[in-house]
Symmetry: C2
Subunit: 658 residues, 2 copies
């Protein structure tokens, strides 16, 4: 008997319910509901070669509704990827299995991005589609010509980021992006009617999308809709009308299938209803073979692509870009020129000048800002806009979409071939914090240019003044947070951010001008995380540790202490993470472990003081902000909040004279 599409789909259903059952935890409803749609996509439309998950010109598949992770694990396994094996699936949600509760790009090739935090998968897919069009514009159809497919649920569509993501995709007319919406009318709390009356297709149409639909359990209807989607020059939303948990006779169509194992009885009933008589985790040979054939469908296209690459003049360049490698970031000459003629400029301006050098040297950078181009100084004059009419452009006007920007940058970085950076005010890092966390978790090279990094922004007041932000970003694992003190450190930090292939960076930059404190040619001192900027002249009684704009303040404090006969080191600490990564000898050389009564440590940073005890010890002094800022010119604020050398020096003196 010939293997039918239903058989293929039921293999997904069976693996999904069996794995969730074995884990006694997980989400069977989505994989069972979308099994038919996914089968059509993966056997007829998606361009991939299971033998080579890293083929650069593969279609990207994003399971935005990441809780339905058994769908993608089933698809990867059945279509013949090396992993997950059936044992991996048997160990779904157990320690050591790559089949985690939610799909993780760092666990399994074929998982293009880490999903689960709702809405972000689709928003990252927008970035993937942007990267594809950009590389196509640069390298041509022979090397880059693929689509991005997304499966999303109601949660992904209800999240705010969906509005930002589809607005951006519509504006950029990303026709190769196709979103399959699992329209099952169920959320965790119950019917979607509990929380929404939205006409979703109308909203997508309002954002410049093409909308089509299908019966998600009718294979012909599905195929026709996917064909429509693939052919339309606009991004497409395919409304797939489905039944959640399809196949579980007593629970399907209800939220009971969403996030819990079906239970042995219902699993047995589902096997009966589906006519699936095989044991748990067993896929009969004919169905397994048919799936593996589907996984080889792309082989011919892959071979054709390899042949084109072999003879292509741009092949080498393309491949090194996809590998994320580059020879020279272009910054050395710039730093040399700063040493030759020091600049008193804001670090946001210093960043712009550094970017001038970087963007000239590295064609892979794609910049942008969430509608603060002139404030973030993210656009260099040679950058033309990335638009629906010119995908070769290297500057994205993201609009007032901080979170959408962060997610799009993640998608671009995951796609490969480009290095995205984007700007907003540091206080609005909160708006894109979930994307920053996913950059860090996913190990993507994304560079966040966050300007206006303290009360130093002045008059805009407390709503715009970061207080807790620098420290709270330092808390995110695998995120490099830089707060450079001058134009030289800014360039150094840019070099470090670009060099980190496996993680994101945040550059916290000032609005206000800062004197250049680095005046001698040297190695990249910021790479140490912290270093002695100025050594004590007198007997060392104090070590002043500061970041960013407060390094200038620390130098002023040191002057006053030295004038009173107390030696004071000034340590600039642009990156806590990099300092922590140094060996103990180096760390001791900068911050020696000495009784505080002999050498007092003092921190100065115009932000939260909680956390600074790590470097000052509890017995040291910390100067910073213990509440919100205020609206006034910056110099007035620094004075008001006691963050000047005049205010700090007497307090340090009082302490050491105790």
């Amino acid at each position: 008997m010939a293997v039918t599409q239903s058989d293929l789909a039921n293999a997904i259903r069976a693996l999904s319910m069996d794995a969730v059952e074995a884990a006694n935890s997980g989400h069977p409803g989505m994989p069972m509901g979308m099994a038919d749609v996914a089968t059509v996509l993966w056997t007829q439309f998606l361009k991939y070669d299971a033998a080579d998950p890293h083929w650069a010109d593969r279609d990207r598949f994003v399971l935005s509704a990441g809780h339905g992770s058994m769908l993608i694990y089933s698809l990867l396994h059945l279509s013949g990827y090396a992993r997950p094996t059936i044992d991996d699936i048997r160990n779904f949600r157990k320690l050591g299995s790559p089949c985690a509760g939610h799909p993780e790009n760092f666990e399994l090739p074929g998982v293009e991005c880490t999903t689960g935090p709702l809405g972000q998968g689709l928003a990252m897919a927008v970035g993937m589609a942007m990267a594809e069009r950009h590389l196509n514009a640069v390298f041509g159809d022979d090397l880059v010509d693929h689509k991005t497919w997304v499966i999303a649920g109601d949660g992904c569509l209800m999240e705010g980021i969906n509005h930002e993501a589809i607005g951006l995709a519509g504006q950029l007319r990303l026709g190769r992006l196709n979103v399959l919406w699992d329209d099952n009318r169920i959320t965790i709390d119950g019917s979607t009617e509990l929380s929404t009356c939205e006409d979703i297709p109308a909203r997508y149409a309002a954002s410049g999308w093409h909308v089509t639909e299908c019966d998600g359990h009718d294979f012909e209807s599905i195929a026709k809709a996917l064909e429509n989607a693939a052919g339309d020059p606009r991004p497409s939303l395919v409304r797939c009308k489905t039944v959640i948990g399809k196949g579980a006779p007593n629970k399907q169509g209800t939220s009971a299938t969403h996030g819990a194992a079906l239970g042995a009885e219902e699993v047995a009933a589902a096997r009966e209803a589906l006519g699936w008589s095989h044991a748990a985790f067993e896929v009969p040979a004919d169905i397994a073979d048919a799936w593996r054939e589907a996984g080889k469908r792309g082989g011919e296209a892959h071979t054709g692509w390899k042949n084109r690459v072999a003879n292509h003049s741009k092949a080498e360049d393309f491949q090194s870009r996809m590998a994320g490698d580059f020879a020279d970031d272009g910054l050395s000459a710039h730093i040399a020129s700063l040493i030759a003629s020091p600049q008193k400029i804001a670090t946001r301006k210093a960043s712009e000048i550094a970017l001038g050098a970087i963007n000239a040297a590295l064609p892979e950078t794609i910049g942008g800002s969430a509608d603060l181009t002139g404030s973030n100084n993210t656009k260099t004059k040679d950058q033309s806009p990335f638009t629906r009419d010119d995908y070769a452009g290297r500057y994205v006007y993201y609009g007032i979409r901080e979170f959408g920007m962060g997610a799009a940058m993640n998608g671009m970085a995951l796609h490969g071939g480009v290095i995205p950076y984007g700007g907003t005010f540091l206080v609005f890092s909160d708006y894109c914090r979930p994307a920053i966390r996913l950059s860090a978790l996913q190990q993507t090279r994304v560079i966040y240019v966050m300007t206006h990094d303290s009360i130093g922004l002045g008059e805009d007041g407390p709503t715009h003044q970061p207080i807790e932000h620098v420290m709270s970003l330092r808390l995110i694992p695998n995120l490099q947070v830089f707060r450079p003190a001058d134009a030289v450190e800014t360039a150094e930090c840019w070099a470090l951010a670009l060099a980190k292939k496996d993680g994101p960076s945040v550059l916290a930059l000032t609005r206000q001008n800062l004197p250049q404190v680095r005046l001698q040619a040297s190695e990249n001192l910021s790479a140490k995380g912290a270093y002695r900027l100025r050594a004590a002249q007198g007997d060392r009684r104090v070590i002043l540790i500061a970041t960013g704009s407060e390094v200038e303040v620390a130098l002023g404090v040191a002057d006053k202490l030295e004038a009173e006969g107390f030696g004071a080191d000034v340590v600039s600490m642009p990156s806590w993470e990099l300092f922590a990564a140094q060996d103990e000898d180096y760390r001791e050389s900068v911050l020696p472990t000495v009784d505080p009564s002999q050498i007092l440590r003092v921190s100065i940073e115009a932000g939260s003081m909680l956390g600074w005890e790590r470097h000052t010890m509890v017995q040291g002094l910390r100067f910073g902000m213990d509440g919100y800022g205020a609206s006034a010119p910056a110099p007035d604020l620094f004075k008001h909040f006691g963050l000047t050398a005049e205010a700090i020096a007497p307090k340090v003196l009082a302490e050491i004279r105790k």
Copy 2:
């Protein structure tokens, strides 16, 4: 010559450009562009009494586009509010003036909420409109019958939160909410065409809104549109077609007017163009009088309302609710019953039980969840849903809208008369972090119920496991963060959250069961922030400090240390903020300042360790998470990451035996 509407509007324009000019910083474009619309609203539609900004039944006016703050300062001043005075306006954006860069509710009565972070003003207005309908349902038309008006710009509409906010408003059919959209086709980066092609009216219609429009510089057209909006049973979007910076002859219609002073020359040209011959900050008497008359328009309605209140059976109840006062939170008996029969339950479950008592005692609570009702345990069985058909309901199905929920809760709390609480997973506090920050800055009593507070949630894996979240929330000024250790502490923390009228609280709660560690009747010990839960039996060599689920671990470590002859205190620390607020004697009694070689301090918390140096000192030991979690059952994870008594005790022993 009679004062015209143009004269009234030009007074706003003049004050706005003069104030920005004097500050040499600010945003003249929006106030000048929306001056005509605002004039019609404030002289013909808005129900208010400038003599009493706190009148409970006033219409709420929200300037969501907060950067255009001079618009509301002008309106308040001109219509006769006591503040801002003309001197306040002269000192716009200077230290000490209540006229901050962005409008702040804690600076000026009449500023209903703090705006500037885009999108949140409109989203808070949704919450205000919800509170109004709820109180109307409870207290009737005689006491509560008002509207909420919003002025929003393109930025507010492009932010993701806008999608969440209008989806919620449409679902709840908040017909008394009217949004005036300043459709000036300009953002900071330039034309809106740079970043969006959206059909905004179509999107609003798709979310169940009524949409109308006007020429924003034609007074009749404006009045007609506002009348349409006021009369429609759906929430209304009024598209006001305006020219940004209207009146500045050379700069109007361009982004040059958005965020910078016009310059002396252009201000002079604008005076000429507007026919405004008066000196800076000078409003001629006839225009000033006409404005003040408008500010008294609501006086009669106010008197009528006072008369109704005077004779109303529910007046006392209504007024104490609006004052935010209550007599008894209902928790004492619940805590007594826990002491009588201890419970081993998850703190999320403990929270549900506490809420049972609270919701019965306090009719002002309105609960909800962002589609995680059954997981957050936020709904008590007596709560019926708050729906378009039943505004008396006290449970909101917010949908998958964490940020929208946070903002709506802020709006409800600002409106007064209700105490909102709402749930999501702690990891998704990132999604609503900008709203949490605004709760703290605005001093609103909003209670965030954040469950699944560590790797203890188990199989959902790293995307769902908070690591940095508890610590990063502790960094936000004026936010109370609670991580209770058992059912008793959970109830205590609820009592403290409810009692704090001037700020928000976060409750970080477990998914997994915890033994009850508090077995004796006592005062509210959580109110101290930290307290000695168990005193050392042997000579005290160690103080173990833990929070939440790790208090159980700390007790296990203490057992092992005592068994080896080393005395160990166990300190439970549910709230860092409250501990910091205790006097030094108390803090010393819990954590005495003693050389670490005599008493070692050890922290145990399944989250970031950065920050814990404050309590352990650098010389102490810290146990926590230094990277992301993993997907597996919770007990496996605690073991894997070394957060068990078995793993920790030997390390502590090794340290004290050094």
